[in-house]
Amino acid sequence: MSDASVNRPSGVRRLTRSLEVRMLGLALLIAVGLSLLSPYFLTENNIFNILDQSVVIGIVAVGMTFVILTGGIDLSVGSVAGLTGIVLGLALQELPIPVAILVAVASGAFIGLLSGVLVAFFGLAPFVVTLGMMAIARSLAYIFSGQTAISGIPDALSGIVYTTVLGIPANVIFLLLLYLAAWGYLTYTKGGRTIYAIGSNREAARAAGLNVMFYSILPYVISGALAAVAITFSIAQILSADPLAGNQMELDAIAAVVIGGASLAGGRGSIIGTLIGVLIMVMIRNGLNLLGVSPFWQGSAIGSIIILALLAERLFNWRASR
């Protein structure tokens, strides 16, 4: 480095040192680019569209952030969403809506608890445990549903999406409140800081008396429960529970968290970064749709953008560390 300002960076430098700021810059760049390419992109209608499309993946990404911060990973979220969606569909045939939702969320949390205990207590690799859980949950989803989508979901359920407050849909409000709560929890509570400490240096966290066992399990429980919450919003829109639902959702969630700056080794990342990551993912998909790009090409586009974003980040860090 030619300058001596490494230790006392100027304002701009300090800003660009924050990964969230750089990713927000990327998000804005994409937004500007897409609005130039498609005049429809920046309309109020489409902005609400983007927010609406962010809800399901955004909710799952919160749970994934918790898990990844501890140095783990949860590959089962898509399947758990599928399974808990079926549970919700079946429960709605017998139970009032709030109780049915509670049952679905509790079953998601239970699956997360199983994964968490296997990882934290028995010391199994998170990748393997949640890979197994992914297969189990998907298979149970098929069995419980009789291999077909469950329709006949009561219309009243759609109220959780289509009710508006001050013109903002309820599901978007829920998403924002969820991010606010998660941010507050991770930043200002003992549990949140413990989750960071575990991912950063488990041994030191334990030596300092932090409850490593409990806070290693909790993220998986949250992740499972939020997968159920996410699928609830999805079902409320289409009023049908499909055993195939949530397929590949884990990939989108992990991608959003990683684009948001989290390290898969744990300890580093933020909930705001994840929100930006989710918005980047959704904007790209939305923009490609507006531009009429074939859905078969969209995977390549999104994959390339993820890899390029991380590559740019790595190059930036290399330069910064010399």
Partner: protein, 638 residues
């Protein structure tokens, strides 16, 4: 052990000039120079953090220098990798060995060749390995097919040396090679180093153990805070005091905010009592008592189980026996938080792996033990704000860098933050494992002062250190561990580095001495003892009594005034002939033991009842000599 055959004007094999290196915010080397000739053992000395290891690692290509010049055999040397340095004939025999534990000895010796193209010939490798070991005078000392994992530390080192020779290394750097060796193994290593020197190799010996420096090196270069402060001085012309002055830049006493050994009497009631603690396989039987306001040292060699014992107390590793009492009340510590809630703090040995949480900033690292203890949903940082400010000023930590990463701090500052982490919970007992490892000398003395201060406030402090000098300078009492057991508990005032070295020797190397005592006691119906003698007191290293022999009050690991032993007259006379006690009529004789290098090993004595015959001094000496040769043979087999 200088080499008189070496002409004064031998051209240097290696020259390093004004080498500098910075790691992050730490200037590890700023103006280091070094000149090494073929056929000499060149000591590279300095306190912890002086830059010895960094310079070694630059020469051996492990790290790149920032500036400065290296010349090897007249040509500029700029190794970009260890491979390049090896190809030039420079090898580092490292502190933490670079062997592959799952491969065989043979494969490890030729490990660098596995990376070359072409076919390997195992019969050929075997032949070459045998030849190399023969050159070292260590034929058959290594089972070539054994997995390296199962070897002793000394054997691994031998593999490292053989590995360097397999590459025709001409310049070999030994970085703290004796750190985990027993005295007998050190002797063997020195013999090997001597052979290498006589064969014309250039050898760099990195150490801070002065005794070893004097016995093995021909010339020394001394680093202090990354600078060469004394270059190529002849070892023979130096005294210990000279070297220490160069190493620390002031007289030794000034570094340790000296405890004042007189303070020991003021130490209060027992605060922490540990009894028969075990956490197998490394911790077998550990007992000690810590008093309020006392600094207790835990001494011993690396691998003696000291860190492991402390980790077991703190429930960082599972215990399988023993009781822990705090202020006389037995406490159950199942997790670290139990220890913390009871007011015990623990600065673990490995700062990076066990203490620092790299992704949290300085403030949160400082608050970590508080957070662990805090009961509540929030953080409770604010309620500790006042105490934090107090600690920061007390420890001389900057207040404006609380939001920075702890990794941008120097090792010494990091250690202060970690110590502050534990002071923040206002502990009754603070255990520190190697508290000055990788800490610059200035911060070291600051840390000693902190320990002194908190002890003065009534905190019981336990310090583990492999640096005997530090142990002697800081503590009031030392408990010595060997092979997972506490074997001695002595006031620091009567100890020296030599005595600690003898006490800390692994039991494998003292077992034969104990057997000797046992045999003598039986043969002469006597009380046999092995002790270090002082003018008015002694430290007992071993004792054995036959049935019916006079029972002297001597136990291994304990100190006695001469008057308390029952044989004061004999101890005063120090005679190889028989001395009869005027009061009790006990008859004693004793023999001074020395090892092959002439080091004092203390005295072996026999005490029998009146009228019993005692052996001649020569007989004991002969038995002891057998013991010493046996130790050598055992060193081979171990």
């Amino acid at each position: 052990m200088t080499n008189p055959a070496l002409p004064e004007d031998t051209p240097p094999a290696l020259v390093a000039r004004s080498v500098s290196k910075r790691f992050g915010s730490t200037q590890a080397l700023s103006d280091a120079s070094l000149e090494v000739r073929r056929g000499e053992v060149h000591g590279l000395l300095g306190a912890n953090g002086a830059g010895k290891s960094t310079l070694s690692r630059i020469i051996s290509g492990h790290v790149a220098r920032d500036s400065g010049a290296l010349e090897y055999r007249g040509k500029t040397l700029s190794p970009r990798s260890t491979r390049e340095a090896l190809d030039c004939g420079i090898a580092l025999v490292a502190q933490e060995t670079s062997l592959a534990p799952d491969l065989s000895v043979l494969e490890n010796i030729f490990l660098p060749e596995l990376g070359r193209s072409g076919r390997l010939s195992f019969p050929d490798m075997r032949r070459r390995a045998t030849a190399i070991l023969a050159r070292l005078g260590r034929d058959h000392a290594l089972p070539l097919d054994r997995e390296v994992r199962s070897l002793s530390a000394a054997q691994r080192q031998l593999v490292e040396i053989a590995k360097a020779l397999a590459l025709n290394a001409d310049l070999m750097i030994f970085d703290e090679p004796t750190a985990s060796l027993s005295p007998a193994e050190v002797e063997l290593l020195f013999e090997i180093i001597g052979r290498l020197r006589d064969a014309g190799h250039a050898l760099i010996f990195v150490s801070h153990r002065l005794e070893e420096v004097f016995s093995i090196t021909d010339r020394v270069t001394i680093l202090r805070e990354g600078r060469t402060v004394a270059a190529s001085l002849g070892t023979a012309s130096l005294t210990q005091a000279d070297i220490i002055r160069h190493m620390v830049g002031r007289e030794l006493g000034a570094i340790y905010a000296t405890p004042g050994l007189d303070r020991a009497v003021t130490a209060g009631a027992p605060v922490l009592e540990v009894e028969n603690l075990s956490a197998r396989p490394l911790v077998r039987d550990v007992s000690f008592t810590l008093r309020k306001g006392e600094i207790l040292g835990i001494g011993g060699l690396i691998g003696a189980g000291r860190s492991e014992a402390m980790e077991a107390i703190f429930a960082m590793r599972p215990r399988d026996g023993g009781t822990i009492r705090l202020n006389g009340r037995e406490i159950a510590i199942r997790r670290p938080i139990d220890a913390i809630r009871n007011g015990i703090g623990f600065v673990a040995e490995d700062r990076r792996a066990q203490n620092i949480v790299p992704d949290l900033n300085v403030r949160e690292n400082l608050m970590l033990a508080h957070l662990g203890r805090h009961r509540g949903f929030g953080l409770g940082y604010r309620q500790r704000q006042g105490r934090v400010a107090e600690l920061l000023s007390q420890l001389g930590l900057p207040t404006d860098r609380m939001d920075a990463s702890l990794l941008t701090f120097s090792g010494g500052m990091q250690q202060k933050v970690i110590i502050a982490r534990w002071l923040l919970i206002d502990p009754e007992v603070l255990i520190l494992d190697e508290p000055t490892k990788g800490v610059d000398i200035g911060t070291r003395s600051a840390i000693y002062r902190i320990l002194r201060d908190i002890a003065d406030q009534g905190v019981g402090v336990v310090v583990i250190s492999s640096d005997f000098e530090e142990l002697l300078g800081v503590t009031e009492r030392v408990v010595v561990m060997s092979d997972g057991m506490t074997i001695a508990d002595l006031p620091t005032a009567i100890l020296t580095e030599e005595k600690l070295t003898l006490l800390a020797a692994p039991r494998t190397s003292t077992r034969r001495n104990r057997a000797l005592l046992e045999a003598l006691a039986q043969e002469y119906d006597a009380f046999a003892w092995w002790a270090l003698l002082e003018d008015r007191s002694l430290i007992c290293l071993g004792a054995a009594a036959a049935v019916g022999a006079p029972a002297l009050d001597l136990r291994a690991g304990e100190a006695r005034e001469h008057g308390e032993t029952g044989i004061p007259a004999a101890l005063a006379a120090r005679s190889e002939g028989v001395v009869t006690e005027p009061e009790s009529g006990l008859r004693s004789m004793m023999v001074a033991l020395r090892n092959a290098r002439g080091h004092d090993l203390g005295w072996v004595g026999l005490t029998a009842a009146d009228g019993r015959p005692l052996p001649s001094a020569d007989r004991i000496r002969a038995l002891a000599r057998d013991w010493q040769t046996d130790t050598h043979a055992q060193g081979d087999a171990a």
